[in-house]
Symmetry: D3
Subunit: 285 residues, 6 copies
């Protein structure tokens, strides 16, 4: 790309104009985390995309999880995973570790990367400003939480003051308990509460594909109805089922459209939002 | 350029990031007019650049003349040009025609093009809000004016309210006389009064060249001192002398840097500001 | 009048107090143009009235046409008028001339007069800030436009920032075409969109008269219903029919009352608004 | 005056235009009281002037005393006046009566008159918001106060919120004592603290006259120097000495000019400010 | 109390925390006057409570009467009370005396006390800013007024600017007549118009008691229904009947709860609002 | 304390009035951490004090460290402490653990406690909004940082939006490195940059004592000069030396006064600020 002339670059910029105009002043929630955050270089590119979006007037909100890092610290702290019906049991200590790793490690690393790229970010958790209120999902699972409400004031305050809000998905309740919340679900609630233009779920697959082994079978756009049919057909299966369910939840809560995309492809966010190539699978009502 | 992939486009965008960050929130005065406004297509590209700059946070102010269109209407209205010492005599009627063509024809066409590209513009003259106050330069020349002061309130009001100000360079005085003002000079005064980061003078040559016939002899950057030497050497000569004088005036009045560039090259503004290629000759203190 | 003592003058001022209180902070649209703009002295008096109104807290919006000046320039440019069913055909070139004369000549002259009287004005056209959106009325007439919408943001922005908005009535569409719009109609749409307290149509007759030759037969006040009866009776006839139709349109769109008055009578606006004499014919719902 | 036509009235209004423009947005302190407040009709006219001034954009502050009413209530309450060196002794009870009459009777009557004329006023004393801080002038006189500081915040707050501040001149100190303050002096301090354009002292004489018995000997304008000479000559004598001293004090504290005028002449304020007749004696630096 | 240690004091403060949080940012109208204002020391304590409430974020509005002081001045001025059906006849002169004593004496004394305690207050009457509009209740009673409307703008303006509004309860009408208004009723209307969280009526009895002679029979809390039963039972009788009626009126107009308490008990307001002891009788819907 | 009557409690509250008035609207930085944060109950009391201060209008900023918790997690993660000249070596991994424990564990626990007490807090680190910029102190120590600048915008933004800022003391540089910063020093820089009224250093000793074993030898107040003499005398020794140095640094940077107090004594902050008992040692210039 570096061989492009200044003129060629200028043309690319002006060709992005209608896309920039479309997203100007709108809220976009980017869910980043887990397997999509594989390398430092990838993270940097994602943060670069986010800084650029903010600069050109998009109100980006970054929501992240951090499963692999949690598991890593837990095993180093000697905590053994325990499961009930295939779901991880989160005792009080585990909840504290989740909070510590997400709010203290992953969150600050993302904030730091954004600032390295010239953006200004403030990283908070669902505990700060009582952002994510939650309750216990199932006593047997311990401190795994269902979102009961999202308080958007802190997010809007940070946006208004010029910061990119970076949010890790632990929740809290009136007693001060800390809950481990599924990142995708939290992002859907937050995007809904903010009436976002778009929610972008970054995963490690290209999107919804007819044949998981064949990238060329990617379905670029889906309605909620079509998604339901595809699930009945068994095309949407396995780990894609909760992803799609989460997208449908976001759409129900008022998000205009949701995109599932591959976070391991460089600059996939800008490609999706600011070019006519698109990336991943866009789901709309 | 249309063969570029989405990813390649995204990369171009992110490579523009440091430039966008540099100009974010700053004022840039673009002087456009005369021979640089040759074709409709070129005008559209310049307006496209301006709309993009505004969208990404640059406070662009467009200052324009319109010599060829004035001459055209004058000849159609049967006015014969008259000269004193090589300067055009501007009687009252001519001053009115200049005002009419600049404020009523060229100004509105530029406003219309900006809006077609998705921007929002308001076109005003030096008369509106007493923006450009002037006095007679030389009685023998009639209503040719020297700028006595620039009132930036109307410009700042329009910027604050979200418009791209488009300004045509006629001036006025307390008695309500209208003066024909040299466009480059007016732009220099306006840019100075606004403490602009940059003033861009769009002409129909590439910039300051050692050999006017050899584009490869373009001098990409000059200090004021160097410009003076070049003038003494005779490198800066002919029509380039007042252009450069005007740039020096702008720098003296507080503009950080000035660029003389070829307005007939597509997207030269974006190339200069948002890529590391540069365009034309940059003059700094 | 100059023989009045200071006390007598002070009394006149205090007698205007209840009228000033009534209009304080309200929007009044003054349509000025055509045959009412006959002499320089008259124009100055009208502008003086407008400056005074603004100063005492009335939000005046000046809308103007300029038929005679358009015809003058057109004939000098060698354009021959062409008519279809008695309506002037406006080809693209004519539309440009209309724009040029209204936005570049008449508009700036009015702005200049306002400023000479100590007011601060910014003159814009229906193109600026996409103020008047229009579409072709009839293909055979060319670029004669019907108003499709009025965007009041630029007007309110200028008022808020302390300027008297001076608007010339050309319209535009998404493709950037320019339309010649009937001035009275445009004023009615603008007054309606602004929820004006009053719209004042300045003509060259005293108002609605029972007998056009007898000024003493002026009807000082009418309801819409009464106007309709008078039209059926033939009392409202000829050029007064579209004037009154335009007033009714303004009332339908939310203007509180409309006054048709003689713009060639000195200070008729102040007489109407700030004394209990009244001037012209007031029409209300 | 009622025989004037609408047009004649309109002309009077437009002739006031330059005066209105001059005073627009400026602060004028009107000191009203004592013998100038003789009749109800006069009071109404003064309040009418003030309401009109406020409406046309002048920030009027009304400062008042009320000597005759204080004496009246005191004698009805059986308090006997006592003097030291010709100055009235103000014991604690007298101070309370002064406060009661000024803040509770005169102040509210003026507020009420302003509102009857369509203005909006809030009446406060020097105690409210610690507006006038004072200290004892001379122990033998009791609670007669010298102004130590003026706190303009309450005045500016009321102006900003749209009220005409009506202020009675009692002062207070940190212990909560109440002081009787000379009204003219208090007005001078207030006008100075507000950087007023003008202070108007309403008395029951025409102004400074060469011969007190000959109204035609009124001196329309004086500098501070000239005033001093006139005092030495004995032209300024008797009760006019403290009046003029007070005006000089106001000028020293930053007021642009001061006018001593006859408050018993109808509409003398408007005559002075908005016509070229003037009224009384204007003193400037 | 002075023997308490710093820690004990700190504990008392933190125990007030939930109460402070509850009232933070809410409006509370305190009606003070008549027999509750018996001693200077008591007044000081009440004002201290009010200053503290304001400082911790409660928007306190102080409404006061001043019966005993009115009677005192009236008798000193030689006015004899006259009664119709047991109600005091208020002729024009009496109305003026009421206004003078309330607005000029009591009001300013309360303002002064608040400022002595470090608060900032502005004292106004129902005349200022047309705060309390009233009409004659009964021709035979003269200028005794019924509240027709409350204009809360002046109160909110003063609160917004940081002052404690101190209001005396005289009313006015369009003609500028002054009316004597029952203080409790005026407070109820004001509290209702402000949607207050609470109205506190300070009297000289403990509250509603089963047996007026037995303080231990105080009823700490009542619903409107219960109050009606108690009235039928004769428990609420005599002077308590209009007090309770006034409370019911306030509740109907939107006040959340009303407390009748003994203003002669030191710090009864703080005891009621910021401790769990409570004071007096709380009435709620 | 619970035996106090409502009246006694009200008296305590009003006795705090002058203290509350003194601190109203001022910034106070509380440094909390290390050995002062020994028990959950103590933490709750400190947070209660902070919530109360904020509620009564003090702009509290909470700065915290968390040494013991860092050591605990480090040892559980198998990291062995290493020392150079008695200072802990902080390799990159250790710096990450410090960041994780402070920003993810301690910070969120304090935020959660504040919210449980009814306050609203947002917890950030020195990385967020580039709050604390730092550089390496000594290569041999690794990522131990010296503060190079404090960016107060994020703190002021959070205060303005109504949050209690809770800040953990890790710093960052342009390359995105994370530095372990001494908490007391960071608090001094932050307090200085904010021009705080007061900085409170909570430790586990009573303050500066003549004899560390005798609490009654506590020195309640010191000037900087006296502190220097005491250091020379050896009275200020051991761990108290850097504490006092840090206080002097804060005073030099503009803090009005600094208090060293025992954070293990309940409600010591309120005792110091809102009662006349005081707590600990106050140092002033």
């Amino acid at each position: 790309m570096n061989k492009l002339s200044g003129l060629e670059r200028a043309e690319v910029l002006t060709q992005a104009l209608p896309y920039i105009q479309h997203y100007y002043g709108k809220v976009i929630v980017v869910k980043y985390g887990g397997n999509a955050m594989q390398s430092d270089e990838l993270r940097q590119q994602v943060m670069e995309d986010i800084v650029l979006l903010r600069l050109i007037g998009v109100k980006v909100v970054l929501v992240h999880g951090g499963g692999p890092e949690i598991s890593d610290i837990m095993s180093r702290l000697g905590k053994k995973p325990e499961f009930v019906d295939g779901l991880r049991v989160t005792d009080k200590e585990t909840a504290t570790i989740v909070q510590m790793v997400l709010a203290g490690k992953v969150n600050k690393e993302l904030v730091s990367l954004i600032e390295k790229k010239g953006g200004t970010a403030i990283g908070i958790s669902g505990i700060d400003g009582r952002l994510i209120e939650a309750r216990m999902k199932d006593e047997r699972l311990g401190f795994v939480g269902d979102v009961t409400s999202v308080n958007i004031k802190p997010i809007n305050d940070l946006i208004e003051k010029g910061y990119i809000p970076v949010i890790c998905t632990v929740g809290t309740d009136a007693e001060g308990n800390v809950y481990n919340i599924n990142g995708d679900t939290a992002a859907a609630y937050i995007a809904g509460a903010l009436n976002s233009e778009s929610m972008i779920l970054m995963t490690d697959v290209k999107g919804v594909m007819r044949d998981m082994k064949d990238p060329s079978s990617l379905i670029p756009e889906l309605t909620v109805k079509e998604a339901e049919s595809l699930k009945e057909e068994g095309v949407i299966a396995g780990g894609m089922i909760p992803k799609v369910a989460c997208c449908v939840k976001a759409l129900e809560k008022g998000v205009k459209n949701v995109v599932i995309m591959d976070g391991t492809v460089p600059h996939s966010i800008l490609t999706e939002l600011l070019t006519n190539d698109g990336a991943g699978t866009l789901i709309r009502r």
